[in-house]
Every structure is written in structure tokens, then in C-alpha cells.
């Protein structure tokens, strides 16, 4: 009896389409990736239903960590001269002078959290060393020595001279306690800056709440 010959299939598969797709995805991710900007502290930000988009450029950010340390950061990727100008303004109000190296160091640092008395020596360190030392945070809770006022005032002045709009962001850890938050708000108020944004992560509006109904009624809110 003639046996039925099974056709032999090769185990080799043509991987070309597979590779095509893989590299397509790869190129997408390479282009879409923005590396997280370096921050000296980790903050676990609370959730909120607010979905206002925040700027990543031409902004300043006050960071508050879970142990109530306050940091100040200048977000100006596009204009690299801003951090230096902020330091100049700080220098003129606090009778300090900063070298070009210190300004460069400030720009690279991302965020600073030291009192003015330690600022110069902190900026003299290399970026890697700065990351290693534990910064004490900008003093805020003492109402007579709320140094955040000067930081906010300095950057506000710089942007007023540049005639550009500056956005104010507060990024706090959920565990930071209210007296520190209050002091930060007080620093904004002292600079007559009554409008600012809290950085939060997005969550959905609870179903059937008034906000939910509003969103459904006006779905095409173009803002």
C-alpha cells in the first residue's frame, strides 16, 4: 500500500513582517519618549479630577516632599539664560554674587533646596555630588524667614523683564503636612501671585456627580 507522504514544512518562518513591525514600534517610542527631568526628590502626587494641562517650559515649580522639605526649580529648557538671571536677582536682593560656574551649576541642578546661607557652597559642588548630599530644603515655615518669597519674587521679576508669561506650579507629596503648604501659599501671596497650579495625577470624575453630568452635557469643551 502506498503510504501517504506528508509534505514537509520548514520550521523557518519568514520574520520580515515581524521585524518591520518591531522596528516601527521602536522608532515610535524613540520619538515619543521624553526623558523624565531629573528631580532631587521623589514625590507621590495626589489624584485629582482636574485635567488642566500644565506647561513644561517657562514655568517655576515648588516641590514639597513627604518630609516637608521645600525645593525650588526653574523649568526653562528652551531659554537657558533664565536660571542665571534668577540667581542675579537673588544676588541683588540678598547681597550675594554668583560666578558664571555657579549659574551653570544652578541650571544643571534641576531643583535646589538649601537656605541662602548654604547656596554658594552648594552650587560649588559638582552635579553628581549635589545629588548625593541631603538638602535641608528651603526654609518656609518661619514667617519671618520665608525664603521662598525671594525665590518666587526673583523669577517673577525676571519674567516681567522678559515680557513673557510665567506659570507657577506646586508639586507636593500627598504626605506633606498643611503648615508647609500654607507657608508655600503665603510665599505666593506675598508676591501678589494668587493664581497657581497644583500638579496632580488624573483620575476620572465619579459617575453621576455634578461634574460628570456637566462633562456629559458639554462634551466638546474646547479648552
Amino acid at each position: 500500500m502506498p503510504s501517504v507522504k506528508m509534505p514537509r514544512h520548514s520550521t523557518d518562518t519568514d520574520m520580515t513582517p515581524f521585524v518591520d513591525i518591531a522596528f516601527l514600534i521602536l522608532s515610535f517610542f524613540i520619538m515619543a519618549t521624553k526623558f523624565k527631568p531629573k528631580e532631587p526628590i521623589q514625590t507621590e502626587i495626589p489624584n485629582s479630577v482636574s485635567a488642566e494641562e500644565l506647561p513644561e517650559n517657562d514655568a517655576m515649580m515648588v516641590l514639597i516632599d513627604s518630609t516637608n522639605r521645600v525645593f525650588f526649580a526653574v523649568l526653562s529648557e528652551k531659554d537657558k539664560t533664565i536660571p542665571g538671571k534668577v540667581l542675579d536677582k537673588i544676588g541683588s536682593t540678598r547681597q550675594m554674587t554668583f560666578t558664571a560656574d555657579q549659574k551653570e551649576s544652578f541650571r544643571k541642578a534641576g531643583a535646589v533646596g538649601v537656605p541662602f546661607s548654604q547656596l554658594s557652597s552648594f552650587l560649588d559642588l559638582e552635579t553628581e555630588e549635589q545629588a548625593k548630599i541631603a538638602q535641608p530644603g528651603i526654609p518656609v515655615t518661619d514667617t519671618l524667614d520665608n525664603q521662598l518669597i525671594y525665590w518666587i519674587g526673583a523669577i517673577k521679576q525676571v519674567y516681567a523683564e522678559e515680557r513673557r508669561e510665567l506659570k507657577y506650579l506646586v508639586k507636593g507629596d500627598g504626605m506633606a503636612t498643611y503648615p508647609t503648604i500654607e507657608a508655600v501659599i503665603a510665599a505666593f501671596k506675598r508676591n501678589d501671585q494668587l493664581k497657581f497650579n497644583l500638579v496632580t495625577s488624573l483620575e476620572n470624575a465619579p459617575t453621576n456627580s455634578d461634574l460628570d453630568k456637566y462633562n456629559r452635557r458639554m462634551p466638546a469643551k474646547s479648552k
Binding site: S50, L169, L211
Partner: protein
């Protein structure tokens, strides 16, 4: 183009001795290592990617005014004061307590409007308060008193916002948020979120009074919050 026959297989004649047949090389390349590397890179970029732009809430603080004449007054019937105390230690999983009272604080003998709820319960309190305030004003529209909210109506017409009637009716609703010194940032954001969720238009963050703080502390002590 005609191909040059080099294989010599089918033409029949043989090449001379010593002439080696050229080996036919496959044009296929083993792509496995390349794919490996490709996926390695994909994984790397997926993990490092920060796709979303940061989102956040906007807050507007009022300017500090010392002159009592220039301070805003809230109608007692529409005022709700919410106080934030100490949260439960992390990990207990209990919703954090919230303290509130309607109108003015009354803690005289027999009358006590200082109440305790949680972050879950406060939403119902706010919804009820809002409905209550709206209920008190619903007759406005029947009596042709729309002019009270002329400004709201005009702005609403510009923005094509049908919500103005509700905003008008709930205009007396004022929520006063008083975070205590033990409250944390998360609680503050959560309570501000409740304002957005329930579409409360008028609210303010105010410093807690000593009397209120004392009541909060007493309640905490009896509830065993350390």
C-alpha cells in the same frame, strides 16, 4: 535580463576536473539577533517613556484683606465649614475623617452642630447642602427674578453654558475649608477635588480657628487617632 547560467546543472555538459562548483549562498540572513536587540530597545523605551504631559488643578487664592468691611460675607444658610484634622496612619485603609458644621458653629449646652464624617461621606453632605440651597431659591425663576443673575446669564450666553441657572440658584452656597495643622496635602487636594466634583463655585481656604481646632483635637482623641 537573461541570466547567466553558472550552475551548469541542467545543461548536461560537465566542467573539467578540478573546477569546483561555486557554492550557492542563500540571501537569507538570520534575523534573530537583530529582532532580539530590537525588542530589547523597545522594552527600554517603553519603560523610560513619559508619555503624558503633566496635569493639574488651578487654584485661585483671594488676596488677604484686613479691613472687615471689604471682606466677603457668607450667608449663614448657605455656609458649610469643613475642617481637616489628622489622617489615619498610612496603611490602615480607613477613609480619613472630615469635620463639618452648617452655618455658624454652635457648641452650647444642648445645641451642637459640629459633626464628623469621612472623605466618602462628605460628598453626600455637600450634595445635600447644594440641593438645600437650590431648593430655597427655585421660586426665583417663577417670580421672574432672573435679573438677580444677569451677569451670570450674560457670561453663560457667551460661553454657551446651560449651567448658569444652577449656578444662579446655588449662589448662596459657600464652602469654607479649614485645614488643621495636622492635615496633609492629599487631604487638601481631595477636598478641593470635591468642590470640582460637585461644581461648587464659591469656596475658600481659611485658617482654622482655635475653638475649631480644639473641637477637632477632642474628637480625634475620643476616636483614638494618634
Amino acid at each position: 535580463m537573461a541570466s547567466i547560467d553558472t550552475s551548469g546543472g541542467d545543461s548536461g555538459h560537465k566542467k573539467g576536473p578540478g573546477v569546483k562548483k561555486a557554492k550557492k549562498l542563500s540571501t537569507r540572513v538570520d534575523m534573530t539577533p537583530m529582532v532580539d536587540l530590537g525588542f530589547l530597545l523597545i522594552t527600554f523605551f517603553i519603560f523610560t517613556a513619559t508619555m503624558e504631559t503633566p496635569k493639574g488643578m488651578k487654584i485661585l487664592m483671594p488676596k488677604d484683606v484686613n479691613d472687615p468691611k471689604k471682606q466677603n460675607e457668607a450667608k449663614e444658610s448657605g455656609a458649610l465649614t469643613i475642617m481637616l484634622g489628622k489622617p489615619f496612619p498610612p496603611g490602615t485603609g480607613k477613609p480619613d475623617p472630615v469635620y463639618f458644621y452648617h452655618g455658624q458653629l454652635k457648641v452650647d449646652a444642648g445645641v451642637n452642630n459640629f459633626e464628623t464624617t469621612t472623605f466618602k461621606g462628605i460628598r453626600d453632605i455637600i450634595i445635600k447642602k447644594k440641593a438645600d440651597v437650590i431648593g430655597r431659591h427655585t421660586h426665583d425663576f417663577d417670580q421672574g427674578k432672573e435679573s438677580i443673575c444677569k451677569e451670570l446669564q450674560d457670561n453663560a450666553n457667551k460661553a454657551k453654558d446651560p449651567e448658569w441657572k444652577n449656578a444662579c440658584l446655588s449662589r448662596d452656597l459657600v464652602i469654607i475649608i479649614k485645614p488643621g495643622p495636622d492635615a496633609n496635602y492629599k487631604m487638601m487636594v481631595d477636598i478641593l477635588d470635591e468642590m470640582t466634583i460637585n461644581q461648587v463655585k464659591t469656596y475658600a481656604i481659611v485658617k482654622i480657628l482655635d475653638q475649631e481646632l480644639e473641637l477637632v483635637r477632642l474628637t480625634e482623641a475620643s476616636a483614638g487617632i494618634k
